[in-house]
């Protein structure tokens, strides 16, 4: 108990750091993922290839290796002078975007072809078809996997802590270096993550309920 009370400010900082990192990379990963999914279903072969290559590459590479890449290899190509936090943001977004892309793509593919054809046959434009027929149904299918992806992202953000970014794992590392009993630290850190994960799953469950569609 004392571990938490004596180091409350650091804990709070770590907790908020985790939340910020997760939210920011989540948003960026969503954007990237949707664009990539667009590439993968587009009628343009090179874009399809690009999307497929991206997904294959990043889904089969350990996240820790990607951290090493942005720390040691990317600065050799163009040194953007990013802060560790921004580097972690980029890595987490790129890694997560490949999973988002697959989720969105499978969501689009669950919409029956006949519905899209019917929409086109009554003269709806591409964007009308997308906005009124496909997306409303696809979104509903995409929610459960997205919820999983965001939870995984929260957990993956811990790796950023090992690369000197302030978040909960960093707090755990700091205090165990100071020689506090690991069991207590572990308990508090675990509790912090449980709260975040719980909030994410509740949020998605509420979304799912409110976006129910008839099939």
């Amino acid at each position: 108990m004392n571990v938490l009370l004596d180091h409350w400010p650091e804990f709070r900082e770590g907790f908020i750091g985790t939340i910020w990192l997760t939210l920011a990379s989540g948003l960026l990963a969503m954007l990237l993922g949707v664009v990539l999914a667009g590439f993968r279903v587009s009628p343009v072969p090179p874009l399809r290839f690009f999307g497929t290559a991206w997904v294959t590459l990043f889904r089969n590479t350990p996240l820790t290796l990607l951290f090493l890449v942005i720390w040691f290899a990317v600065p050799q190509v163009f040194d953007l002078g990013l802060s560790p936090w921004a580097k972690a943001l980029v890595v987490l977004s790129v890694y997560t975007s490949s999973f988002v892309c697959e989720a969105v793509r499978s969501g689009i593919n669950t919409v029956p072809l006949g519905q899209a054809e019917a929409a086109r046959s009554i003269g709806m434009t591409f964007f009308q078809t997308l906005g009124t027929i496909i997306l409303p149904q696809a979104v509903r299918t995409v929610l459960p996997p997205l919820s999983s992806i965001f939870i995984a992202l929260t957990k993956n953000s811990a790796i950023a802590g090992a690369f000197s970014v302030t978040e909960l794992f960093g707090w755990q590392k700091l205090l165990s270096d100071k020689g506090f009993p690991i069991a207590w630290i572990f308990l508090w850190v675990a509790l912090g993550y449980l709260v975040i994960v719980f909030v994410i799953s509740i949020f998605f469950r509420v979304l799912e309920r409110s976006l129910e569609v008839a099939r």
């Binding site: 889904r59 089969n60 350990p62 820790t64 040691f72 290899a73 050799q76 755990q172």
Partner: protein
């Protein structure tokens, strides 16, 4: 791509447009690739001297040892996580409430905690009490990594197997009870085999995650492939700089190949299962969609307990398929 949900079959105009996009797309991708390669070449990362390090016996040995260590951790953790996962899945379907609660609590707790946190905590624990536990030297990192991977992946595998239990037709379980099989027999001879069979692709996909996560050993300075690679790049100097880029390229390729080999095994089993006429539906070869937090991993999967009790059968009328375009209107009279 003749018919997709998003696009109509392209006409002459659209074909021309797609061609233009193709050319622009190829140009952009190739341009970017060339830019990166040029920049790396300028920095001397493609000099023969840089890549010559892989001809060095010592370098090869350290990479080989790294791969072997990674595979060793993966093998032990993979097997243990499957065993523990099966145990947890069975425990979660137990008739005894305390057992069920314990299993559920264990699963929910360790699934929500980042694996790194668990591994790190175990590592510190082993370091602190190494005299009492008798874990020394390299074994420290090894067991921290293996136990962490086992615990986390077992919780996921348990949820996957539970989804497999729920996929087994209920009539089979009822039939088994009807001919007088005991619960343990129903579990071992009916539910587990079918659950494993139908969930094999998903189980293997989760094993890919296990394999990827062995790289967390890097953070606790355990000498698996990634840490070996990092040490290698740190300790060699070629033309005044560390060969990070070549080493990362080689290491990355090794990881991608290992994971792809496993992923394609999963996809192959899935395809094979679709063709088989066993009547067992095969799950998709994808990472399991498990909702963290408190809830069922599988939408619509209730508590698995009722499945294992002899229940009275209630024939349920299947819900009417609902039209997607609102209620049917009576045909208007046409005169």
């Amino acid at each position: 791509m003749s018919a997709s949900v998003l696009y109509d079959a392209p006409g002459p105009k659209a074909r021309l447009r797609n061609r233009i996009y193709s050319v622009v797309g190829i140009a952009a991708i190739v341009g970017f690739a060339v830019f990166v390669v040029m920049r790396l070449a300028d920095r001397g990362h493609f000099d023969s001297a840089m890549w010559n390090i892989f001809n060095n016996a010592g370098v090869r040995a350290s990479i080989r040892d790294g791969i072997l260590t990674t595979l060793k951790v993966f093998a032990v953790a993979g097997v243990l996580s499957l065993v523990l996962g099966a145990l947890l899945a069975v425990a979660r379907a137990s008739d005894h409430r305390p057992v069920r609660w314990l299993a559920t609590g264990f699963i929910e707790l360790f699934r929500a905690i980042p694996l790194l946190i668990t591994i790190f905590a175990l590592w510190v624990l082993f370091l602190t009490y190494k005299d009492d536990l008798g874990v020394v030297g390299e074994n420290n990192g090894f067991w921290a990594l293996v136990i962490g991977l086992t615990v986390y992946n077992a919780t996921v595998q348990a949820e996957v197997l539970r989804a497999g239990f729920n996929a087994v037709p209920k009539g089979q379980v009822e039939a088994a009870y009807a001919i007088g099989l005991r619960k343990s027999q129903v579990m071992t001879s009916l539910l587990l085999p079918q659950a494993i069979r139908s969930m094999l692709p998903t189980v293997i996909s989760q094993l890919v995650v296990t394999l990827k996560d062995t790289s967390l050993g890097y953070i606790i300075t355990y000498s698996e492939l990634l840490y070996a690679a990092r040490q290698l790049a740190n300790n060699t100097l070629v033309n005044e700089q560390s060969p990070y880029v070549p080493v990362i390229m080689v290491t990355g390729t090794i990881y991608v190949l290992m994971c792809l080999a496993l992923s394609s095994l999963a996809s192959w089993i899935e395809r094979r299962g679709r063709r088989a006429k066993t009547g067992i539906k095969v799950a998709a070869a994808a990472e399991p969609v498990a909702e963290g937090g408190l809830g069922d991993a599988v939408p619509g999967a209730g508590p698995a307990a009722p499945l294992l009790e002899p229940t009275t059968v209630e024939t349920q009328a299947s819900p009417e398929p609902r039209d997607t375009d609102g209620p049917d209107e009576p045909p208007s009279k046409t005169n």
